[in-house]
């Protein structure tokens, strides 16, 4: 404890020595007990793609004119009035904009990808085992839509277990978070699908590797004004419970730094040598949205899962009836 205090004091001294306008702003946000203050409602919603599109290969940023054109194009592409009657896209996506809340804007810095490392803005190459896991998941996804045998054939999101493995990226709607702090803990409430990450920042070690959790096991520490959170102990106990085909041994390191009243600089790095040939890193600002989080009680009305199972049983019955006369 004493060592930590000394380290913290040393950190402050160094920080003061290097003070810039940005750091001074960051220091202004403190909790009553002196920790950097990340509290409030935040959103990571953006139209900027995770990976750099081929058309922008070799370029990290767009010009103002290009950004305006690109943003307008993205808005047209996600416009639900792009109707294609009789197609699966029409069934799955052709709802008007009230169904979706993907955002209207790309990032203000006009980056071409959320990924900043590797420098090409793309997810690194997958190992053969990683590719096999992704292919297996695609097969499982087809089974879910065709003939799910039971709830276990659905992914963790459809089952209302979790939205998906950490880390979170901007999705179709409800990209909102609320951070609450106490001395020794940071809590992050995720609107979709209302899980809370309770992150100790008191130096305790991770739980044993034999204990696996849907959101893994997070441990935080303060590095100057930045909250650094390392998460391990993920689980592959259900479909899509790991991040983008990773194994449960993936290590996630997130960095949160309050830069002004309405912005947190958020960065994550994921490492899993069994899946990707190298770690990769994303940065995306968390901004202050209008309004508040609403409860997302996912099990309350998850009729869709039951309806899909009933559809599969109906089809099965029809097929059996159809097959019988041939016997």
């Amino acid at each position: 404890m004493r060592t930590q205090t000394l380290a913290a004091v040393a950190g402050v001294v160094v920080a003061l020595g290097l003070a810039s306008v940005s750091e001074a702003q960051s220091r202004a946000f403190r909790t009553p007990w002196g920790d950097p203050d990340l509290q409030g409602v935040w959103s990571n919603q953006t139209l900027t793609p995770l990976e750099r599109p081929a058309e922008f290969a070799g370029r990290t940023h767009l010009t103002e004119a290009e950004a305006a054109e690109y943003q307008a194009r993205l808005r047209r592409q996600i416009n639900a009035d792009n109707r294609e009657p009789g197609t699966l896209r029409d069934v799955n996506t052709a709802y008007n904009d009230f169904w979706w809340d993907r955002g209207e804007r790309i990032l203000p810095d006009r980056r071409t990808s959320l990924i900043i490392d590797p420098p090409d803005g793309r997810i690194p190459a997958m190992t053969p085992a990683g590719r096999a896991r992704v292919a297996a998941e695609a097969d499982a996804n087809r089974r879910e839509a065709e003939f799910p045998a039971g709830p276990e054939d659905f992914d963790v999101y459809s089952r209302c277990i979790i939205r998906g493995a950490l880390p979170r990226l901007s999705t179709g709607y409800n990209n909102n978070y609320q951070i609450v702090q106490t001395p020794g803990y940071v809590a992050i409430l995720q609107e979709q699908i209302h899980e809370t990450r309770l992150i100790p920042v008191d130096g305790r070690p991770h739980i044993p590797g034999t204990v696996r959790q849907w959101l893994g096991d997070s441990r935080g520490r303060w590095e100057g004004d930045t909250l650094v959170v390392e998460t391990t102990n993920f689980t592959d106990a259900a479909r899509a419970s790991t991040f983008r085909g990773a194994t449960k041994e993936m290590v996630l390191v997130e960095r949160f730094r309050r830069v002004d009243e309405t912005t947190i600089d958020y960065e994550f790095t994921v490492s899993d040598p069994e899946t990707w040939v190298r770690p990769w890193t994303v940065t995306v600002p968390w901004f202050r949205p209008d309004g508040m989080l609403y409860e997302y009680a996912c099990h309350e009305g998850n009729y869709g899962l039951a309806n899909t199972l009933t559809a599969a049983r109906t089809l099965e019955r029809e097929q059996q009836q159809g097959a019988q006369p041939q016997k």
């Binding site: 169904w99 209207e104 879910e144 699908i193 901004f287 009729y303 559809a311 159809g322 097959a323």
Partner: protein
């Protein structure tokens, strides 16, 4: 039988490519069975992950059928200014969607329109746009 199998394989591919709604609608609703319904709202179930609108549909022979229409997530609807009281019981609406694959009286509410032609969920200001420029 063979034709149905091919159709299902295509359906699966579509589902894999679909964006992140809470669940795959193509597993729940039949792309080959578009449906138009006209009826009176009897109840709005304001529940996650998706709201459901219940309507009574009068058949040409005078009988009444109850239908359930799947809608969006209430949280997002709230942000768009739509609440559980926005669609009153007794309101006449038209629904354009796809029939449930299990053959029951359910459909997805791709479009919901009032009898005067106004779209229920169209034309209002957007919700959160993303980080400020």
């Amino acid at each position: 039988m063979h034709v149905r199998f091919v159709a299902l394989v295509v359906a699966g591919l579509g589902a894999a490519a679909a964006p992140a709604a809470h669940h795959s609608f193509s597993g729940e609703f039949d792309v080959n069975k578009p449906i138009k319904l006209e009826g009176t709202v009897t109840k709005v179930e304001w529940i996650n992950p998706h709201a459901w609108i219940h309507i009574d549909v009068k058949r040409p022979d005078g009988t009444v059928e109850s239908w359930a229409i799947e809608g969006g997530t209430p949280n997002t609807l709230m942000r768009r200014g739509f609440t559980k009281d926005s669609l009153k019981t007794g309101t006449e609406i038209m629904v354009d969607g796809y029939l449930a694959r299990d053959g029951s009286r359910k459909a997805n509410g791709r479009d919901v329109t009032f009898t005067d032609g106004r779209k229920l969920f169209m034309g209002s200001p957007p919700g959160q746009g993303g980080p400020p420029q």
